[in-house]
């Protein structure tokens, strides 16, 4: 159970696929418009429940509870060998390498 007062992330469907705007590419028209927000959980709940949260600006937003204590997972990425090659090439052209 997720306790009232925890910082959580919720998910919503803003528009079903059938309700999407005209003049969209076909692939986008086939999927719903989805939304994610974060806030403080206003009552005890389970993951997957429809809940209410109070957001950072004090708005009350409703949605499906999907994550407790959400955190960022983006990073500086995995190794890209091409970058080493660029660095070496630039130094070679400018300074003649490590002679």
């Amino acid at each position: 159970m997720v306790k009232k007062g925890e910082w959580v992330r919720i998910h919503n469907v803003v528009l079903d696929a059938s309700g999407r705007a005209d003049r969209l590419p076909d692939d986008t028209k086939q999927v719903p418009l989805e939304m994610w927000t974060k806030g403080t959980l206003l009552a005890d709940a389970e993951i997957g429940d429809k809940v209410q949260v109070e957001t950072a600006t004090g708005r009350i937003e409703t949605g499906k509870l999907i994550e407790v204590h959400p955190y960022y997972k983006h990073s500086y990425g995995k190794f890209v060998p091409e970058l080493i090659k660029i660095d070496r090439q630039l130094r070679e052209i400018m300074y003649g390498g490590e002679k």
Binding site: L24, M35, W36, T37, A56, Y76, V80, Q89, M94
Partner: protein, 466 residues
């Protein structure tokens, strides 16, 4: 009685919502035909350039260093004919409080919102502008909501945009994230209506007035450091606000001889509203997906009339590739010792190539740098591309195919910006304006369209006769 919040109802109230959320009635600037009074719109902020400078200085915005990129200039010169290879300078806008020139746009908008008594501000942006508004809202004690297009239907976020969400939250803002699609505007309008907050639009006159100080500073710094105005200013172009505001600022400083060149990453072939193609982009701004539609139809933004009108100021428009921008970003860090971008380095990739066509004593200024962070850096962006099936290899950037490959230039001589057909874009703007407002344009409309496209009445008439 509660207002109906379905899509059609909210979109139907768009004009009223905008009027309330901007404190401006755009009808005041309309002629009833094609022409509208652009300069009166710009004056409607009520702030002079000096006042904007004062407002920005209150929160530490602006007065950023102008750095000579000596080693990148020297590298470029190696590929120029004798006596050629201009000096390249960068306005280090990453030194602004939120890490980009967008702090200038946000400072003026948030100051104005506070003065008018709004309790909070909302902006629709997946870019650096979100953090800029959030940072200013924090400094000026207002609430802030940022609405982002961030994920595809698999829930996979662009690393560059996810980083920008984190940056907004760091300043205490609420971030509302959406999947791909222009109906973001519906959520945005609905939030404006529910909260009564100010629409801190990128395209309001407050936002653009905020960029004028950037152009003005470039002129003053060049005169102090070099004793002259820059021959060329290159601006990364997406929504058009950068080149509009920068050019206006330079012109206000009297730099009437400076050539203004817009630069965008060529993403031709990728549809910006496509769910499947969303994550095939490896740069989320500074590209033609924004640059071309906003140049040819500036008024399709989140305000009734955009204050960002790039074709009014642009002398040339050039394209570079994602691979060229990634390469030059690595060069900027490795040769000139500053880690910035990558998207903000679009103008630098173009300047590297353009410099070879100008004499050694000519000065080319790129109007911005931007901060670098997790997700917003060449390594995660290239890694993300590879994970999404994009082929990355060294070769000739002319082989570039957006969404399929990223061709890193095999050597710096292969970095060559390509001239976009600006006359075609000018013609497109003229046709769209006439179609939207009056199929039988008046003499005043023709004069207006010549100003809109930096051409003359003969050009406008020739387009209309085709």
């Amino acid at each position: 009685m509660a207002l109906a919040k379905d899509y059609a109802s909210v979109m139907g109230r768009s004009n009223e919502i905008m009027k309330t959320a901007l404190g401006l009635d755009y009808q005041d600037f309309e002629s009833g035909s094609v022409r509208f009074d652009y300069e009166t719109l710009m004056k409607s902020t009520g702030y002079t350039l000096d006042e904007v400078n004062r407002i920005q200085t209150l929160t530490g915005v602006g007065h950023t260093p102008l750095l000579e990129l000596r080693n990148i200039s020297a590298l470029s010169r190696k590929y120029a004919k004798p006596g050629y290879g201009a000096r390249i300078f960068a306005k280090d806008e990453a030194a602004n409080p939120s890490g980009s020139f967008k702090a200038r746009r946000a400072a003026t908008a948030v100051y104005h919102a506070k003065k008018l008594g709004y309790k909070g501000v909302i902006a629709a942006t997946s870019g650096n502008y979100g953090a800029a508004v959030a940072s200013q809202a924090a400094m000026q004690g207002l609430k802030c909501i940022i609405v982002q297009e961030c994920y595809d239907s698999r829930g996979v976020g662009q690393p560059e945009i996810v980083e920008k969400a984190r940056h907004c939250e760091a300043y205490g803002a609420e971030v509302v994230q959406l999947t791909v699609g222009p109906e973001l505007f519906y959520t945005f309008l609905s939030l404006l209506e529910d909260t009564g907050y100010f629409n801190a639009s990128l395209y309001s006159p407050f936002g653009i007035a905020g960029v004028e100080t950037l152009g003005y500073e470039i002129a003053m710094q060049c005169r102090e450091m070099l004793g002259k105005d820059p021959e060329v200013v290159v601006c990364t172009n997406a929504g058009g606000g950068m080149i509009t505001g920068t050019a206006r600022g330079l012109l206000k400083a009297g730099a009437t001889e400076t050539e203004f060149i817009g630069a965008s990453i060529d993403l031709t072939g990728l549809h910006m509203a496509s769910d499947k193609q969303f994550n095939l982009k490896s740069c989320t701004t500074g590209h033609t997906g924004f640059g071309v539609p906003y140049a040819t139809d500036p008024d399709h933004s989140d305000v009734p009339r955009s204050a960002a009108r790039p074709l009014r100021y642009m002398d040339r428009y050039v394209y570079v590739t994602q691979g060229e921008v990634f390469y030059i970003t690595e060069a900027l860090a490795n040769l000139d010792g500053i880690e910035r971008g990558p998207a903000g380095n679009t103008a630098l990739a173009a300047a590297f190539s353009l410099a070879q066509d100008y004499p050694e004593d000519a000065v080319i200024v790129i109007s911005e740098t931007e901060y670098t962070g997790a997700g917003k850096h060449i390594q995660p962006q290239l890694d993300f591309a590879r994970d999404n099936g994009i082929e990355i290899y060294f070769g000739n950037p002319s082989e570039d195919k957006p969404g399929t490959n990223i061709v890193l230039p095999g050597d710096p001589s292969l970095i060559r910006c390509r001239e976009a057909d600006i006359d075609r874009m000018r013609a497109s703007l003229i046709r769209k304006s006439v179609a939207a407002h009056n199929p039988n344009p008046t003499a005043e409309d023709i004069a207006f369209l010549a100003e809109e496209t930096k051409t003359d009445e003969a050009f406008v008439r020739s387009v209309l006769e085709q």
